[in-house]
Amino acid sequence: MSTILVANRGEIACRILRACNEAGYSSIAIYADNDANSLFVELATTSVRLEGESIAETYLNQNQILKIADQYGADAIHPGFGFLSERADFAQAVIDAGISWIGPSSKAIEMMGDKMTARTTMKAAGVPVIPGEEIEEDDEHEALIAIKSASERVGFPLLLKASSGGGGKGMRVVNSSEELDDAVSGARREAIAAFGDGRVYVERLLSGAKHVEIQILADTHGRIIHLGERECSIQRRHQKVFEEAPCPTMTPDLREKMGQAAILAAQAVDYVGAGTVEFLLASSGEFFFLEMNTRIQVEHPVTEMVTGVDIVREQLRISEGEPMSCGELSIRGHSIEVRLYAEDASNNFLPAIGPLVVFKPPVGPGVRLDTGVREGDEVTPNYDPMLAKLVVWAPSRSEALQRMRRSLEDFVVLGTTTNLRFLRELCDQEDVINGSTDTTLIDRAWPYGWSPNISNSLSEAALMVAGISEGSGKHRKSNSSDASIDNGPISPFSTLSRRYP
């Protein structure tokens, strides 16, 4: 391997491109027109424009990406997460083109990608799975009948999930049979739009359970290890917002049991590379296989912080056919990641857009920011609203929480609504402080939706700042005649217009 094409964008493309640069590889970034000025484009040795407009024409366009790989001499492709990362056909096409696929075999992707096959395989391998039923019917009407019948056996509350899905798309909680019709059609519609496959399956909803996942690494020399767990229970709209390692209620015994189950799961599909086996951990201590993500994960940094393993760098090594370089598992301290979303947490987490007029991340020891954006960038509705991941490490969980609070207060983002304050107040929730985190935490904490806790005196201070800003001439328009300067370096004195008024 000498040249690695990164078939992704945003923060994960930045993360991978930096790893490629540091490891001495040439790197190729690919970008759609609306990403021409994005950070990741600058981090690659070579950046190649993708023709087309929609995601399907660009980042999901297998043929175009393979053509670029060939034309620019890429001998490996790193898919990141999302996009083509779990497309078995793409993995196979890459391998068939004589290019290294930085990930597991297409067979492993396929078996884990289809939730039904995955469940069957896991059952056979002796990995515990959640009570639930697979719905094979593809036709809308037949599927509904089958789901109704399954729901009677599985019981409410239940979860509908897209068979070939992930990331919360096509997922619905159904509390009673009356809600079933609506939920099925919504879930199927989203699943078809996102994955081109409307099949769903029905699963018992284990309320009060923790979402705990095990990071695994497997090399081509037959070595397969786990790097301990991450807890990612705190979710909104079925998307993780707060992730940590280790899980606050984990015991060394249970870690070893879950780690061994994850290794069994990986072995069942002859896994190679980095992957994550997700489990639901019930308060009883029982755990159930949820799914395996056959790629790098958004929340991989918390594992890196506590284990000292550079997971992306190990992916590169494994793809080179080298043995992985990390030794035995040792966990040190505590790490927390929060996801910075452009969204309005006080309005049902509605995605937001706008210019990042000011974007000043926190600094200091034990603070890591994985970002795909920088000051002056524009948040558009074209892609996922996740802007960055703020990660902290500290010797203990309480110190990590303290550091996260400080970091969230120091983080300044102006011009686009973000969930910063929501995350900050999340850190003060009693259940977060004492580690009683489960997947229902946000709903329990704010049953009627979240709104910020603001003192009158702070509002008054903010109004005073607005008055001073207005009165001090900070608002006057830039009157430069040079177009390239009008869009120029974003300062508190620039006046921007939203592109989407």
């Binding site: 120091d410 900050r424 201070a461 005073m464 700042v465 607005a466 001073i468 207005e470 001090s472 921007l496």
Partner: protein, 154 residues
């Protein structure tokens, strides 16, 4: 100096005094730093460093770990007529139109489903009434802020 702002839907008048480079408001004092931030000393002596930036008529302000959006109301500007139109919260595509013109709807009833950023968003009736206009149909692209449908309030 007197300014009118809208914060959380409420219109507030702010009257500042300024002596030399020090601005004051009911016991709080503030000054502008060389880098454009504002240093504010509140009545209880605590110090805040505030960032501010203007986008359109809106001041974005970061102070004390909170971010505020405060609209400046230009002197003499007419209040916006919010009407009973239901507008697109962000750019996206109309996935489904769930009502017809003339149909009676209840408060909270879903009227339209938009897709944006790969997620579905429901447009729901803000109050009881009947649908008087529908401006888009399935598959249409909509820009942020455009009216999607009109309700006449009974």
């Amino acid at each position: 100096m007197r300014y009118e702002f809208r914060i959380d839907g409420e219109v507030v008048e702010v009257t500042l005094s300024k002596v030399d480079d020090i601005w004051s408001l009911s016991g709080n004092n503030a000054s502008i730093l060389p880098d454009g931030r504002i240093r504010l000393v509140s009545t209880d002596g605590s110090v805040f460093f505030a960032h501010s930036a203007k986008v359109g008529d809106t001041w974005w302000i970061h102070i004390g770990g909170h971010t505020f959006c405060i609209d400046h109301i230009e002197p003499g500007a007419a209040e916006e007529d919010e009407g009973s139109g239901l507008t697109a919260p962000m750019p996206g595509k109309v996935l489904q139109v769930l009502v017809e013109v003339g149909q009676r709807v209840e408060a909270g009833q879903p009227l339209m489903i938009l897709e944006a950023m790969k997620m579905e968003h429901r447009i729901v009736a803000s109050q009881e009434g009947s649908v008087s206009e529908i401006y888009f149909s399935e598959g249409d692209q909509v820009q942020q802020g455009v009216p999607l449908l009109e309700l006449s309030i009974s």
